[in-house]
């Protein structure tokens, strides 16, 4: 009986498998007609929101860039501002009034015309509705008025001169769709196909499973070379790499050094080591506060002392971290702006550079009144042992190994470290609430430095409800003054000077120690896909760009033109089903025979 049930189960499984493979053929993302050119991308990050007004995580904004064109764009080769929806612009003598000319003949993916009114609508919505300003409010908060005098003209008047006018990272949405949305904060933006203006149109999405985007035939730069772009979610990076090796996906990003090394020399796998645009740092909580300067969180009060923070910074050897934890696939951290943006990058001149020096750090702490106790741990000025919690994100590959080094170094200057690795959700909650002493941080910078500089300003401190976008609760008058100066400075060279002064100030304050600018390590199937538009080119990234060039220029590799992989899923499904049915039949037959034998 048991065996017969097993056999029936096997048949049912086989049928279900067969059913499943035909079902996927009908609707969901794995099977296609043979002539479809599909690019499959493995992702391990979680998307928090696809509503462009709320989306601020790296994974979310990448979708925003694919789905919506911005007013201006960042050039693929060198990231200078180029035309987006606007093809021409000029600024009045007072540096306050900007006039943008909107390109002719563009349409949304539902064939409605794109006009200046859509642009004015988007910016005005962000000005009038605070929720709509959640993700990108910093770009428009200095706007006085935005008007559309005619179909092809947008006029933006700013209160003070604004340096970021050609780097407004704001997805422009269609007024005829969004004017019907009643509650921006609750709108998921998942009405497929999602009407957009970018190179791809979102047609299907399941949280933590997959996202499917189809080429937008009405895209004003021309239709992308591929027909479909799929993001397939993997729970861990090793699974994603195995998917790449088996050919389940065509592109994987954010590889670990061990994975990147392991993939070298594998057939049909091409590697891309790109200079990244992120900075990774160690945050030293100087005393978390809200925008009304109320203390929040439970950071160790001793860290308010800048001398202590400087000693900690001196005990961190960024070079070793880059060599060991990043396997050499990073640049050694110095100033706040990553070196890929060479114009704004600053590194301390020789006379200001502290360098890694445990002995000097020990001397500093001895002199500053942190005597060592009998157990080798220093005590703070209230007599309590100086033991700091170090918070890491268990979802970030570098945090755990880095924590081992930091613990060891700080131990050598008499500071105890209690490492706490927590899930990404809990990590960001603790970050916003200031519940940490030390924590690993990471920011992605844009070609225009304003956004990443803004996260160190008082204005970005969280409000009482915890809404804010502050890196480490910094609120420093000198930095504020410089920030205001740079955002009003339209001369790029002069602005770069101010931005460098700001980084020098951050280096003095040491609320964060920049450890590394990690390389972005990517791998793709060279037998399936080619032609990715790197940004910047050469040496740039495929994924996580300030643009969509990577996916936009991707095309099937010559060998894969007559895609063999398309019907393969179905074939395998049928083969598996046949084998299972045969096996089940065999079992039934054998079982009958055994029964007969036993009866005799």
């Amino acid at each position: 009986m048991g065996f017969r049930r097993l056999a029936a189960g096997l048949v049912a499984t086989a049928l279900a498998l067969l059913g499943a493979s035909t079902a996927t053929g009908a609707g969901a993302p794995t099977a296609h007609a043979a002539d479809q050119k599909v690019l499959r991308v493995a992702v391990t990050t979680t998307v928090a929101s696809l509503n462009p007004f709320l989306a601020s995580h790296a994974a979310d904004t990448e979708f925003g860039r694919l789905m919506y064109e911005f007013l201006t764009a960042d050039d693929q080769k060198d990231q200078h501002p180029i035309g987006g929806l606007a093809d021409k612009w000029d600024v009045a003598k007072d540096n306050l009034t900007w006039t943008f000319h909107v390109r002719d003949g563009m349409t949304w993916s539902d064939r409605q015309p794109i006009t200046s009114r859509d642009i004015a609508y988007t910016y005005n919505l962000m000005l009038t509705n605070p929720t709509a300003g959640t993700a990108n409010g910093n770009f428009v908060k200095n706007f006085d008025t935005v008007t559309a005098p005619d179909e092809h003209t947008v006029v933006i008047k700013t209160k003070r001169p604004q340096a970021t006018m050609l780097a407004l990272d704001v997805p422009i949405v269609p007024e005829h769709v969004w004017s019907k949305v009643t509650d921006i904060g609750k709108y998921t933006n998942l009405q497929f196909p999602v009407v957009g203006s970018g190179p791809f149109v979102l047609t299907d999405y399941k949280q933590d499973q997959y996202a499917t985007l189809k080429a937008n035939p009405t895209f004003f730069r021309g239709r992308p070379a591929i027909d479909e772009l799929q993001f397939i979610h993997y729970d861990n990076p090793d699974a994603a790499v195995q998917g790449l090796l088996k050919g389940d996906v065509d592109l994987v990003s954010r590889l670990t050094p061990a994975q990147f090394n392991a993939l070298q020399g594998k057939p049909n796998i091409a590697l891309n080591k790109a200079q990244g645009h992120r900075l990774n740092d160690l945050l030293i909580n100087p005393g978390a506060q809200t925008n009304t300067h109320e203390r929040i969180g439970d950071g160790n009060p001793a860290l308010a002392d800048v001398t202590l923070r400087q000693a900690i910074a001196q005990a961190i050897d960024a070079k070793t971290l880059v060599d060991k934890v990043y396997g050499g696939y990073a640049e050694v951290g110095s100033g706040y702006i990553p070196p890929v943006f060479s114009q704004y990058h600053w590194s301390p001149p020789a006379d200001q550079e502290r360098g890694f020096d445990l002995a000097a750090a020990n001397r500093t702490l001895d002199a500053a009144g942190y005597p060592k106790g009998t157990d080798g741990i220093r005590v703070d000025k209230t007599g309590k042992p100086l033991t700091l919690r170090l918070l890491g994100d268990s979802g970030t590959a570098t945090d755990q190994p880095s924590s081992q080094y930091v613990k060891s170094w700080l131990g050598q200057i008499g500071i105890g470290v209690d490492v706490q690795m927590v899930s990404s959700d809990k990590f960001s909650d603790a970050g916003v609430a200031g519940r940490y002493d030390l924590a690993f941080g990471s920011w992605g910078a844009n070609p225009d430095p304003d956004a990443v500089l803004a996260v160190q300003t008082c204005a970005n401190l969280p409000d009482a409800a915890g809404n804010g976008n502050s890196e480490n609760f910094l609120c420093d008058p000198d930095y504020e003054r410089l920030y205001a100066e740079q955002s009003a400075e339209l001369d790029t060279a002069k602005r770069a000077e101010i931005v460098k002064q700001m980084q020098a100030r951050l280096y003095e304050l040491d609320t964060s120690v920049i450890t590394a600018y990690p390389n972005q390590l990517e791998a793709y199937r060279s037998d399936h896909v080619t032609g990715f538009g790197l940004q910047p080119d050469p040496g740039g990234v495929i994924t996580q760009q300030n643009g969509y060039w990577g996916y936009y220029y991707a095309k099937p590799a010559a060998a894969a033109e007559q895609s063999a992989g398309a019907g393969l899923g179905l074939l395998i499904g049928i083969a598996v089903a046949v084998v299972l049915v045969a096996g089940a039949a065999l079992l039934v037959v054998r079982r009958r025979r055994v029964n007969a034998d036993e009866r005799e």
């Binding site: 861990n236 990076p237 090793d238 790499v241 195995q242 590889l255 670990t256 050094p257 061990a258 994975q259 090394n261 392991a262 993939l263 070793t320 060991k324 934890v325 396997g327 890491g392 268990s394 590959a397 755990q400 190994p401 924590s403 081992q404 080094y405 613990k407 060891s408 170094w409 050598q412 209690d418 490492v419 706490q420 690795m421 927590v422 899930s423 809990k426």
Partner: protein, 298 residues
Amino acid sequence: MSTPSPTAIAWQRRRAAVGRVWQEFLSDRGGLFGLAALSLIVALAVFAPLLSDASGLDPTHATGRPLEAPSGHFLLGTDNLGRSVLLQVWWGARISLLVGVLATLVSVGIGTLVGVAAAHFGGWTSAVLMRFTDFFLVLPSLVLAIALSTVLNRGIFAIVLAVGVTSWPSTARLVRAQTLAVESRPYIERAWALGAGHVHVIIRHVLPAVAALVFANTTLTVANSIIAESTLSFLGLGDPNAASWGEMLNAALGSGAVTYGAWWYLLPPGLAIALVVLAFMLAGRALETVLNPRLRER
């Protein structure tokens, strides 16, 4: 003079019983192997600070290259930070065993308390305690442990608590059954008749009678606790300050060791877990067979 005191007689009897148990245990080869393996592992773990240099665990003092294959210098190769895998597995035993044993103490402690109380007091106390036990019994313990270790502050003790609090119900059920059996015996009735109170009956009569079974159960629970600790640590819920075997596996997976093909980083902690659990299981099963009258008769 010639008649020994009652206490002396009791002790004599107990010594004889232990001797009998030991003799029977010796006849179980699997159990003996388990015990030998455990003694060796525990001795190695306890004396690790004397036999090896802990500074090799500090990445700033690591001498190897990342993910070096096994060689004469590093018998089990190196991890992603160039530290000896062998040394880490060795020192990991301390944490894994410590957490396993502590979690078991919590679990067996709660289980014994609830089991004895439920059987001894009976009535609605029993009803309430047993429904409470049933409630914990039907909850998927891994999910509960994950939830608990997420809510509690990170650290070894969070894991101990999470594992201990989720694994006691089966002990409670076992102890309750044994207590019921013991309490129905005439000598307990006699004790009642002589005016014994609850405390006297429980401490002098019930606990000694169930202790043997609890001990056998403890040995088996340690194995489960070690698995549970490794699972939680592997899932990234462990204490990164304490490098247990589960933590090692977690670090190995996070660093891409699978893709790299660094089997020497993945296999040793996994095999170590398997070996210790097997040893505890063999010893525990043998002990249970000896001590549990129902199993012995078969």
